[in-house]
């Protein structure tokens, strides 16, 4: 911050009014961010690329070529973990987009108790993932949990949300949506509010119905918000770890393992090279899915 102020006054002295004007958008604006990011994120990442090719004990590393990657794909549950990861990301981002849009529309309309609803929907975003994980693990307890006790009142025999191997991943994904939908809603609200009123005015003059309003004005014009929500929640879903770890630790058995939890388990076990190779696998998986998605969303955006 201090450096910033100094540079400002220096610029002022060096270029009095009337002197050759430098670009009003100087590239050094990138600099503070670039230094922090480069040193604390990029440098370690590059170092890890090398270590993914080694058997690493942190004190010495033996170069073993691609053996870690071979081993990683032999992990019995990696294939299921890959599938789980994609399922999780699709469910969470899909629901967040749909519910976020729906809630944002509701909360920007002249509904009663709007302030209350906005607060309530955003509230879960405020609670820590660990806290949410603990709370829902208790609520989803198969015999004592409130959810199943509530269902029992309705005569429904509730399932083992987190203990049934077929359900565990979906249950965690639903909690993820519960916690994250408020953020998607806020992004959408910001996007919806930014749509100039003239468009709706023009549509009203043309006699558009509510549905037409939504389909031809709101939806296309909120596409930047949609793109942001999709990309962020999709990447978040692919990388997700905290909540799964807090709620199931990948279990029961390996049923809710994702790539991130497999990586973490290798890391815990002290297989640093293997774990780093897993990082690279996850990175490639994300790149393969997200880069085309981003290009697709941006291309559409450019057409307008």
């Amino acid at each position: 911050m201090t450096a910033l102020t100094v540079t400002e006054s220096a610029t002022r002295k060096g270029h009095p009014a009337g002197a050759r004007r430098r670009s009003p958008y100087p590239a050094w604006f990138f600099l503070p961010a670039a230094i922090i990011y480069g040193v604390l994120f990029l440098a370690p990442t590059f170092a890890s690329l090398y270590f993914s090719l080694t058997r690493w004990t942190l004190f010495n590393s033996v170069f073993i070529g691609l053996e870690n990657f071979v081993q990683f794909f032999r992990e019995p549950f990696l294939v299921q973990g890959l599938v789980n990861t994609v399922i999780y990301a699709v469910i969470t981002s899909g629901l967040k987009v749909m519910l976020g849009m729906l809630l944002a529309l509701l909360l920007t309309s002249n509904i009663i108790a709007r302030g209350y609803l906005r607060s309530v929907v955003f509230f879960p975003v405020l609670v820590s993932t660990v806290g949410v994980g603990i709370t829902f693990t208790v609520l989803m307890h198969p015999t004592q949990g409130m959810i199943n006790e509530g269902l029992a009142l309705l005569g429904i025999d509730g399932p083992g949300w987190l203990t049934d191997p077929r359900l565990a991943l979906i249950s965690v994904a639903l909690v993820d949506v519960w916690k994250g939908v408020g953020l998607a809603t806020v992004i959408y609200i910001a996007g919806l509010v930014a749509i100039p009123k003239d468009y709706y005015e023009a549509a009203r003059i043309d006699g558009a119905t509510r549905w037409q309003n939504f389909w031809y004005v709101t939806l296309p014009l909120s596409r930047p918000a949609t793109a942001t929500v999709i990309i962020l929640s999709f990447i978040g879903g692919l990388r997700t770890f905290d909540l799964i770890w807090a709620m199931t630790r990948g279990g029961p058995g390996f049923a809710s393992d994702t790539v991130a939890s497999v990586i973490y388990k290798q890391y815990q076990a002290g297989f640093y090279g293997l774990s780093t190779a897993g990082n690279v696998v996850l990175f490639v998986l994300i790149a393969v899915l997200v880069v085309p998605l981003t290009m697709f969303l941006n291309r559409k955006q450019g057409h307008e």
Partner: protein
Amino acid sequence: MKLTKRTLLTGLAAGLLSATGLAGTAYAQTTLTVLVDNSADTVKFSEALIAAFEAKHPDINLELETRPGGAEGDNITKTRLATQSMNDIFLYNSGSLLQALNPERTITPLTGEPVLDRVADSFEQAVTFNGQVYGVPVQPAMGGGILYNRKIYEELGLSIPKTWEEFMANNEKIKAAGKVAVIQTYRDTWTSQLFVLADFFNVQAQVPDFAEQYTAGKAKFATTPAALRGFEHLAEVNAAGYLNEDYGAATYDDGLHMLTSGEGAHYPMLTFAIAAITATYPDAIDDIGFFAQPGDSADSNGLTTWMPAAWYISASSPYQEEAKMFLDFAASVEGCDVITEAVGAAGPYLIDGCGLPEDVPPAVSDMLPYFQEGGQSAPALEFLSPVKGPALEQITVEVGSGTRSPADGAALYDEDVRKQAQQLGLPGW
């Protein structure tokens, strides 16, 4: 207006940054930090040991720090050692898990220190790596077997089973009486391993050289019938419907609660749980008994034993002398007494001169005969072989829940073990 806001923001940030720089001020007294896991009983006896030590050495100040247990605790321990940011003194497992810490680079060897004269040889072996001894015992020796509720046994007129068949027959009667026969708590996945790990006495009774062959990569769980039995036991108790209904969601503490409240009869567990019961359910401690995991034959009935965790000194600590003083204190008769007073005695101490009080809980007196002359016991596999696969607890959860067959589970575990052996660079893998 805008300028004011900006200046304010700048000043705020700068002020906060300088404030954080001051956060780590030094103490005048010598202060060492001690890292232990955060289970209630560990914290309790560690605090007691520290208090007693500080009373003796007023110039040394020890600060207790806790870390999560289980795999996350392993992770923190390994990361801190590898980055030379480990606390001066730390508590960690003995046996095969120690080997993965790279002790030659990270831990101060104690070989030749007078304190080791007091430590039992059996324990020294569990903390020896390439000829150097690295730690002193934290607690008494442990056994892995079945904790049981004595009241239920009395009510139903059951006797201690010597074979797996008798054990299952007991279970049937307990189930018929409307109680939970076998408590399982798979929310804390590590508790699911007991049937497999505590069966090792029986494995060794049938295949005496299993540990050796296993380390050499020649014997496998899936292809050694005796070793496969542990996995089969897990599946059997589930298939017979002996488990508590919420076994998938129950925690270790739920398990202790069920056992002490008389809801459940058997809980396969390590005997360190006795200290946990003393700490949390002191009124029920006299209702709890213990027996070794029964095998196929009544003739060879014995206990699989565990060495306790150890106190280690970080090689990167600047306070080596002070840390050694603490270890010397912890592994002394005085230290044992402090522990006994804090959490009770959970088994035979591994330090010369440390006796047990007259009135030990029944679970402990049940365990002692196995350790004495003429009793039968064998160390768990993790003290005979450096190889323990990290995914065993997930596999045993699956086998114990009936989602994977025992043979499949054992084969999967063999694969997991191979990875660990390769990481350790053992020959033959």
